[in-house]
Assembly symmetry: D2
Homo-oligomer: 386 residues x 4
C-alpha cells in the first residue's frame, strides 16, 4: 500500500481505532486468506449434466414447450418436470403388452403392467381438481383410489348443488350466521348438505335392509361403490369408479357429512355395520398382486399413509409422485420426503420418486395435461381393447 492508501484505510475507519490496528498489520494477509476460501478451485462436472435454462418467450407462447422447459428451470419447476417423467414411466409400464400365460390366470386388475394408486384429500374434490380426477376415473387411467370421507361426499354433493368461489379472509361468524361453510377460498351453502341428506337417507335404509335380509357385509369401499351407482351422474368421480370397477378406499368414511348422516340415520333405523377389516385386505391385495405399482398422492394425512402402507406389502412402489405443501421438520408423515418412505420399504430402493412442493390445484391439472391426457389416445384404446 502506498502511504496515501494506508492513510485512506486508516482514515476511513477512524471511528474504531482498535479494530484498524489489527487491520493495518494484517492487511496484506487478510484478502489472500479470504480469496483462497472464496475462489477455491472446483472439480469439473460431468459433461451431460443438464444446464439451467428457462423458456424463451421470444419464440412465442408455446405452452407445451414452456412446460417442457420446466425440467431445466430448477427448484419446483424441475420437480414438476421430473413428476411428468415419473408418471409417464407409470403409463409406459401400464401400456406394456401382458404375456398370455399371465392373462389367462390373472384377474383383470393385475393385467395392467402398472397398477396406479391415486390418493387425494377432500379439499381437492371440493375444488376444480375434481374434474381432472373424474377424467382419470372415467377413462380408467388409475386402478385404486384412496381418499377421505369428505373426498367422497363432496363429489356427490356437487352433483346436487354447486360450490362457489369466495375468499380466504371471509369472517367465520358472518358466514355461520348465513349458513355458508368455507373451505379455504371456496364456499358451500348449508342447503347443499340438506339436499345430500334427502338423497342419502333412502339409500341408507336400503343398505340396512340388505344387510339384514341378504347378509351384505358392508365396508367403506362397498358403500362408495353403491353410492357411485346411485348417483348415476357422469360428473361424479365415483359414478365412473363404479362403472369401471375402480375400488375406492376410505377407512374413516364416517369422518364427515356421511358420518353425520349415518349418525342421524342410526337413531331412526339402527344397525348398519361398516367393517374396515375386509377393506384393508382388499387394498393390500391390490398392491401385493400388482406387476408394478405407481403412487400419485395429492396432499397428506391418511391418504398418503394409506397408499404407501399398502405398497409396503409388496416391498415398495416402483414409481411415486407426491404433490403437497407439507414439510418434514415436524416429523409428520404428511410432510415426509419420499426418501423417508424408502426407509420403510414403502417405495423401492432403486426407485426415483418425486415430490412437488406445491398446491395441487395448480400442479395437478398441469401434470394430467402432460401425462394422462397427452397419452389419452393410447390409454383409452388399451382400455377399450381389454
Amino acid at each position: 500500500y502506498s502511504k496515501t492508501e494506508q492513510k485512506l484505510l486508516l482514515g476511513s475507519t477512524y471511528f474504531f481505532p482498535k479494530f484498524i490496528f489489527l487491520w493495518a498489520i494484517m492487511a496484506d494477509q487478510a484478502p489472500s486468506v479470504a480469496r483462497a476460501a472464496v475462489l477455491k478451485e472446483s472439480s469439473s462436472l460431468p459433461e451431460d449434466m443438464p444446464q439451467i435454462k428457462g423458456y424463451d418467450f421470444n419464440q412465442g407462447v408455446d405452452h407445451r414447450a414452456l412446460l417442457q422447459s420446466f425440467l431445466t428451470t430448477g427448484f419446483q419447476a424441475s420437480s414438476f418436470g421430473q413428476a411428468v417423467q415419473e408418471i409417464n414411466k407409470m403409463i409406459e409400464k401400464r401400456l406394456e403388452p401382458v404375456q398370455e400365460e399371465q392373462e389367462s390366470c390373472d384377474s383383470h386388475s393385475s393385467a395392467s403392467g402398472c397398477t396406479i394408486f391415486l390418493g387425494y384429500t377432500s379439499n381437492l374434490i371440493s375444488s376444480g381438481v375434481r374434474e381432472s380426477i373424474r377424467y382419470l376415473a372415467q377413462h380408467r387411467m388409475v386402478d385404486v383410489i384412496v381418499t377421505t370421507a369428505g373426498g367422497i361426499e363432496e363429489d356427490f354433493i356437487k352433483c346436487l348443488a354447486p360450490t362457489y368461489l369466495g375468499e380466504f379472509s371471509l369472517k367465520g361468524k358472518e358466514l355461520r350466521q348465513q349458513g355458508i361453510n368455507r373451505i379455504g377460498n371456496l364456499l358451500v351453502p348449508n342447503d347443499n348438505y340438506c339436499k345430500f341428506e334427502d338423497w342419502l337417507m333412502p339409500i341408507l335404509d336400503q343398505m340396512v335392509l340388505e344387510q339384514k335380509t341378504e347378509g351384505t357385509h358392508w365396508t367403506p369401499s362397498k358403500m362408495i361403490h353403491r353410492l357411485g351407482k346411485e348417483i348415476n351422474n357422469p360428473d361424479s368421480v365415483y359414478y365412473w369408479a363404479y362403472k369401471n370397477d375402480i375400488p375406492v378406499f376410505s377407512p374413516a368414511l364416517t369422518d364427515g357429512s356421511l358420518g353425520d348422516m349415518i349418525y342421524f340415520h342410526s337413531y331412526k333405523n339402527p344397525g348398519l355395520v361398516l367393517d374396515i377389516v375386509e377393506d384393508i385386505r382388499r387394498l393390500n391385495s391390490k398392491a401385493v398382486f400388482a406387476k408394478s405399482t405407481g403412487m400419485i398422492i395429492l396432499g397428506g394425512g391418511l391418504v398418503k399413509h394409506h397408499i404407501a402402507n399398502a405398497n409396503l406389502m409388496r416391498n415398495g412402489a416402483d414409481f411415486a409422485v407426491f404433490v403437497n405443501t407439507g414439510q418434514e421438520f415436524d416429523g409428520s408423515d404428511s410432510g415426509a420426503r419420499p426418501d423417508e418412505a424408502i426407509s420403510w420399504g414403502k417405495i423401492r430402493m432403486d426407485a426415483s420418486p418425486v415430490k412437488v412442493y406445491a398446491d395441487a390445484s395448480i400442479v395437478f391439472p398441469l401434470l394430467v395435461a402432460e401425462t394422462f391426457a397427452h397419452n389419452a389416445d393410447r390409454l383409452i384404446k388399451e382400455k377399450n381393447s381389454d
Copy 2:
C-alpha cells in the same frame, strides 16, 4: 434549492437525464406528497391495549415469568400465551362445581363442566410428546382422545422396544438395507414391529374368538380399550385411557402396523369385523351431551377434522386450541384457521379459539407445563373426589 444544490441534484444523476428533468421541476412537490402518505395521522388506540414487551433477562432466568411474558412478545409467542389462557379456561370450567340435579341424572362423562377432546397425529406418540399425553391420560385430565392408527400402535411398540434419535437427512436406501425406519429425525428398528406382532397376534385370536362366541361387536375404540388393558404398562397412554375409561377413537385403525397385523392375521384366522358406525355414534354423543367442550388438537388430517366434526353436533366447541404447521393457502382442513371451523359451526361463534403455528414437540410440553401440570393439584383432587 440553491444553484449549487440544483447542480448537485442534476449532477448526481447525470446518467438518467430524462428522469432528472421532471425531478428538477417537481422537486419541492415530491416530498410533500410522500410525506403526507408516510406520516398520515393516526387515531389513538384504546388505553388498555397490551404493549409489546419481552422478558428482561436482567431479572435472572425465571422460566415461568419468561413464559408469561410470551403473551406480550408478539407473533407466535403471543399465540402461545393465548393458548395457555384458552386451555386454562377449559380447566376452570372443568373444575366448576356441578349442580346436584345434574349429577343425579347425568352419566359420569358429562359430569365434568368441560369435556376436553385431545387429538394428535401418530408422530407425536413416536416423539417424547407421548409422555405429556400419557400424563394427561393418567390423571384423567382429558375426556376423549382421537388419533390415527400409528398414534395407537407406536405407544404399544414403545412399551416393547425403544425409538431412537437420528437425523432428518439419513439416506432412506441405507436405512432400508439395515431395516431401520425413519420418522423425521427418529429411528425405529424393524425388530420393534416383530415384537409387536408377537404381542398382538394372540390378542387378535382372542378377539376373533370373543366375536364368534360372545357376539362381541368390535369397533376401533373397543379394540384400543382392550389393547390398553392387555399392555398393562404404566408407560402407555392407552393403558391409562383403559384404566380411566377415556374413550379413544381412531376410525382408520387399519391404516398402519395394526392394519398390517390384522391383514396377516386374517389369513390365519379370518373373520374379525371392526365396525366404524358404532364409534361415530359414541364420539358424537360425547360432544352432544357435554356441558361445554374444549378441543386441543396437535397436527392436522383426520384427528383435526374428526374432533371438530363431532363438535359440530353440539353447534360448536366452546374452547379450541390448534397446534400445527399447516397453512390455509392450499384449502386443506389441516391448515385451516379456527375461523374456518366457525363458519361450519364446529366452533361457537362467540369463542376465542387459538392456533399456534409451531411444531408441537416444542410447544405442547410447554403448554402442559403452564396449564394442566400447573393446576395438577386441583385437577387430581377433583378426580379423586369423584
Copy 3:
C-alpha cells in the same frame, strides 16, 4: 325405539355402562339437537357468484383454456387466475394513451400509464426464471427492477459459465470438497466465480479511476447500469436494463460475490464509494411521479419491502401481485399478506392485490405466458412507437 333396538344400543356399548345410561335417556333428543346444528338453513348466495369448475380434459389438451379454468378451480389456482387478471390490468393501464400536455412536460419514465416495479430474489436469476425476466427487460415491459446482490451477479456469471441441475439432498461436505456450490437443487462450480473475478476486476479499476478523475458519484444502480453495458450479452437481464434505461436497485449490493470482489479489490485499489442515499431518492421518485403503479414481487425479504416502501411514497401501489412461499404467522414482512401492506399505505385501500402462495419457478413463467407474452404485440408496438 323398539325393545330390540334399545337392547341393541345398550348391548353394543356394554363396555361403557355409565355412558350409555345417558344415551338411552336422551336418545331421541340427541340427533335433533345435532341435526339442527348440522343442517342449519343457509341464505342464498348472489346469482353471479362464480361456481367452482375445473378443466375438462375430454375437450383435449388446450393449455390456454386450462390456465383460464384456474380462476374457477379454487385455492391457489384461483389466486393464479386473479394474478393474471391483476397483471393484465397493469398492462391495459400501461397501454392507455397518454395525453399530450402530460407528454410534453413529463419525462419518459412517467409517460407510461402504469409504472411496473418488478422485484425478485437472487435464486430466481440462478434458476431458469431468469429467461422470463430477461424477456421483460428486453422488451421494456417493466420500468423498475429491485433485486438482491446475488440477483445481479448471478446474471453476469451465467454469461460466463453455466449453472447446473442437481438435487436438494446432495451433501454439503462432498460438494465443498469439489468446489461445487449448491443453491437448492442447482449447482454452481466455483470456477464460475473465478471467471467473474477476471471479468469484474478491470471494471472496478475503471470505476475507481472515474470516481477519482471525473468525480463520478457511484451508487448501486449506477454500478449495475455500467455492468450491464460491459457484459454486452443479450442473454443478460442487465444488458437489456442498460439498453432500455430500466433502473435496477440493489441497495445491499455488497452482500454477495460482488461484495467479495469489491472487498478483495479494495486492498489492491482502495477508495471506491457506493452511495445508497442517491438511490433511495431515485427509487422513491419512480413511485412518486408515476401515473399509476403496479408491483410484481417474486419472493420476500429486501426486494418485497423495498418496492412496497417506495410505493408508500405515493400513498400506495394501484396494482400488486406477490408470488412467494412465505407465511404470515412469524410476523415477517416476507410472509405478510398484501392486506398488511394496505395498513401501511403501501397498496391503495381500493386495490385488489393478489398473493400466489407458490414457488415462482412454476408460477412466474406461466404468469408471463398469460400476460406480457400474450400481449407482446401490443406492448412491443407501443414501445417502438415511443
Copy 4:
C-alpha cells in the same frame, strides 16, 4: 383354508368377482410376501444412541429439566436441544483464556475466543424478542450484529412510543383509515413515525454538517453507532451496541423509515452520502481475524446471507444456529438448510450446525435462557475483567 373360510373370503367380496379369483388362488402366498417386506430384519443400532423420552410431569413442573428433556423429545424439540448445545459451545470457546502473545498484538475484537455474529430480521425488534437482543448487546455477549433497516429504526421508535398487540386478521383498509400499521399481530400507530421524524431530522442535519466540515465518511454502521449514542436510552439495543463498541451492519439502511426520512431530508438539506463499501471491508474483517466464529441467525433474507457470506471469507463459521420458518424447496437462501452453506464454505465442513424450524418469538427467548443467561455470571465477569 377351511371350506367355510374360503366361502367367507369369497362371500365377503362378492362385489368384485374377478379380483377375488386371484385372491383365492394366491391367498397363502400373499401374506408371506407381504410379511417378509413388513418384518424385514433390522441391524442393531449402536448402544449409546439416545432413546426418545419426553418430560415426565409426574416429577412436577421443573422448567429447566423440561427444556433439557427436549433433546430426546424428537423433531424440532431435539433441534432446540441441539441449538442450546451449539450456542453453549460458542460460549465455552469464548470463555477460553487467550494466550499472552495473542493478546499483545491483537485488537480487542479478536481477543475473544469466539466471535459471535447475531443476525435478525426487523420484525423481531418490533416484537418482544427485542428485550432478549438488548440483553445480549448490553452485556457484550455478541460481537457483531447484522439486521435490516427496520431492525434499526424500530428499536429507536420503541424508545419514543410503544408498539401494541393486535391480531393477524385485522383489516388493512380499516387500519389505514385510522393510521395504524400492522406487523403480523402487532400494531404501530403512525404517530410513532412522526415522533421518529422529529428525533431524527436534527441528527441528519448534524451528520451532513460533519460530512461537509470534517470530511466524515458515513457508512450504515457508523450511522447506527451515532444513532445509538443519540438515543441515550438503556432500553435500546443500539444504545448498548454503541456503549460496547459492537458494530452493527445494515447495508440497505435506506430500506425503511430511515430511508423515508433520509429521502425527505435530502430535499431540505441534500448531500448526505452513505457508503456501503467500507462496511463490507469492516464486516468481512470481523470474520477473517476471528479466532473462531459462531453465527446465530433469526429469520432469513439479507441478514442470513450477509453473515454467512462474511464467514465464507474465513473458510466457514465454526458454529452456527439458524432459527427460521423458511423452507428449502423454493431454492431461496432464506430457507436453505445449513448443509447448503457448507457447500459454499460458509460453514466449516466439520461443524455441526443446527437449524430450528420455528418462529423465533417462541424459540429465541428460550434459547437465551438456556445459554447466555444461564452463563451470565461467567460471561459478565469475563467482560468486566477485560
